[in-house]
């Protein structure tokens, strides 16, 4: 009989975990998109050979412990303040690579001012924005991005637009600012989506290398625990409900809004 040792051999390897992910066990719920998003960002930094030149900023949210998993120098920021922290790092070390990794509550609620102004200044950083339409970490409360009618622990009868406001498309909003150079919306729920997101992250670091301004990647992701669904069901629900409201694809490329978004913003 074949032993596992006979299988785990150099020549049989088709995939290895990037050394920029630590061996710490991920704190995310099984099925959650955060882990995949982490891996993509770390793979890109690894493949570009930027480990020694990169500083990451972790948010407050489920990914508060990103520094446990990302094997680079990391700074944990207060809730919503990652863009300001990144500004402090980048302004004093303009030749280093700096990225923020933030959830939707962090980036689009408590940190809205920091988000808009970092984009407006066109700080030369990369922003990774995990939009799961909910506050995962604190137990599934309504986020600024929560869809109309979506049930959360603070909108138990569904989000009512009249009393609770509208879901915020912060990505379309910041794309309007001259300081943003590359703005895109991606996902990580299928191998094809992962490949596209990885390409986008590559491009984002390329933009940073060329000192062109903000590159902003929204990743629409699931929160199977917060949504109270199985991982598979949550991804189906995401495709069916989140994607129509948060459509996939580039919003701004090379500093120019892509056509479909120009139209959408007008209507």
């Amino acid at each position: 009989m074949m032993d596992i040792k006979d299988i785990v051999k150099e020549e049989n390897l088709v995939y290895t975990k990037t050394k920029l992910m630590t061996d710490n066990i991920l704190s995310y719920c099984p099925g959650c998109g955060h882990g995949t998003a982490h891996r993509i960002v770390m793979e890109v930094i690894d493949e570009l050979g930027l480990q020694s030149q990169t500083v990451g900023i972790a948010p407050v949210g489920c990914s508060v412990l990103a520094y446990d998993f990302m094997n680079i120098d990391m700074i944990q920021a207060a809730h919503g303040r990652a863009p300001a922290v990144a500004t402090g790092v980048k302004r004093t070390m303009p030749d280093k690579y700096v990225f923020t990794y933030q959830g939707d509550g962090d980036l689009a609620a408590i940190g809205t001012a920091e988000t808009i102004h970092v984009c407006n200044r066109g700080e030369n950083i990369t922003m990774i924005f995990i939009n799961n339409g909910i506050y995962g970490m604190t137990g599934g409360q309504m986020a600024p991005t929560t869809l109309e009618g979506m049930k959360t622990s603070t909108s138990p009868y569904g989000r009512d637009l009249k009393s609770m406001g509208n879901p915020l498309k912060i990505t379309e909003l910041i794309a309007q600012l001259p300081g943003t150079y590359y703005v895109t919306r991606q996902a990580v729920h299928t191998p094809a989506a992962v490949r596209k997101t990885k390409k986008a992250v590559f491009k984002a670091f390329e933009v940073q290398k060329e000192k062109k301004g903000i590159s902003f990647i929204e990743i629409v992701s699931n929160c199977n625990s917060g949504w109270k669904m199985s991982p598979v069901k949550s991804n189906e629900w995401m495709v069916e409900h989140m994607f129509p409201f948060y459509p996939m694809g580039d919003i701004k490329v090379d500093g120019e809004l892509v056509k479909s978004n120009k139209a959408e913003v007008k209507s």
Binding site: D73, I75, Q76, A77, R81, A84, G88, V89, T92, A113
Partner: protein, 361 residues
């Protein structure tokens, strides 16, 4: 002798920051300290030393920019005034928790709320007793002259890096706005990237080399036992500061029967009051805490049995007085006097308060 100039306190602190080799200043305008960022913008320190100056969109952003740059091992300075410093508190708590060095100036104005733009010392509790959440301490310096505004920048950075702890310079609208002669220190070069690497490679986040593990700047530990240990470490640091870093000044205290205890502007005013008192035959001395935290507890306690009474003079409703009472362990009668809400007491008003204390009123 260094270069002599006639400057406002706010200008002196800004010029001293450039000369101390500071890497970055982040701030948001607020009276009575907007001259700090105005001076820096006009001076263009980017050209002089490469120092970065950035006007942030809010105090929330400014203090977090400080956090980021300090985390990268850079020398960072910021300034604000009371309402802005209230917004700084979240960031200051994180900075203290993550053990980052930086210098923060508070040019205090009258409160509460939007209050007034006139001088006040009513932020004593906020500076010395925490301000933000959690058990932490700032090293708090109280300048009483424009010269000290300038000098406390370098002193502040020395302490900030020695202890990896945020330092607060607490002045007020009077020291910030008044003009005096100041002797400026010579220009120090900014640290090079190589120097920063040599000094701070064990903790700062500027990019992980192959020779070391990644550096993580955080104040979080979900394991409460570890968080308690971290707190023990912080407390040990504060005890060390209390032992080694207390600063104070004594004027005419040797034969004093009565002491005025006052810091900053109130100490400046009280210098005149003790002269007036001595002219009337009252043996009065001035004890001036220069560090508000660590407070000169032992040094003031030495007057127990020697003086008959202490007058605490502060532009507040009475905050400093609590530390004085702790210092003398209620073995000396202590009274508070002070105008507040933006009003400044005169030397004569202080003298009257001292005479009332002597009369037992």
């Amino acid at each position: 002798m260094g270069e002599l100039k006639l400057m406002k306190g706010n200008e002196a602190i800004a010029e001293a920051a450039i000369r101390a080799g500071v890497d970055a200043y982040f701030g948001y305008p607020i009276t009575p300290q907007s001259e700090v960022i105005e001076y820096l913008m006009a001076e263009q320190p980017e050209e002089r030393t490469g120092m970065v100056v950035l006007q942030a969109e809010s105090e929330l952003a400014a203090i977090n920019m400080v956090y980021g740059a300090a985390a990268a091992g850079k020398k960072v300075f910021t300034s604000s005034s009371s309402p802005g410093i209230s917004l700084y508190q979240e960031g200051i708590s994180y900075i203290a928790g993550a053990e980052l060095p930086c210098v923060i100036a508070n040019v205090v104005r009258g409160g509460p709320g939007l209050g007034t733009i006139q001088p006040s010392q009513a932020d004593y509790f906020q500076s010395t007793k925490g301000g933000g959440h959690g058990d932490y301490k700032l090293y708090v310096l109280a300048p009483a002259s424009v010269q000290e505004m300038a000098d406390f920048i370098q002193l502040g950075f020395d302490i900030a890096y020695k202890y990896r702890n945020p330092v607060m310079i607490q002045s007020d609208g009077m020291i910030g706005q008044m003009m005096e002669k100041v002797e400026l220190a010579d220009q120090r070069p900014r640290w090079t990237d190589e120097e920063i690497k040599q000094m701070h490679d064990s903790w700062a986040a500027f990019g992980k080399g192959d020779h070391r593990e990644r550096n993580i700047i955080t104040s979080l530990d979900l394991d409460s036992a570890k968080q308690e240990k971290h707190n023990h470490h912080l407390q040990a640091k504060y005890r060390r500061m209390e032992e080694e870093e207390v600063l104070f000044e004594e004027i005419n205290c040797e034969d004093a029967e009565y002491l005025i205890v006052a810091y900053g502007s109130s100490a400046r005013i009280s210098m005149k009051s003790i002269d007036l008192a001595r002219a009337k035959g009252i043996k009065a001395g001035l004890f001036r805490p220069i560090t508000l935290y660590p407070f000169p507890m032992k040094q003031l306690n030495a007057y127990v049995g020697k003086v008959k009474g202490i007058l605490s003079v502060e532009m507040s409703a009475g905050q400093l007085i609590e530390d004085i009472k702790l210092a003398v362990e209620c073995n000396v009668p202590v009274k508070h006097f002070g105008r507040y809400g933006g009003m400044i007491h005169s030397p004569e008003e202080v003298l009257t308060a001292l005479e009332n204390l002597i009369k037992g009123e």
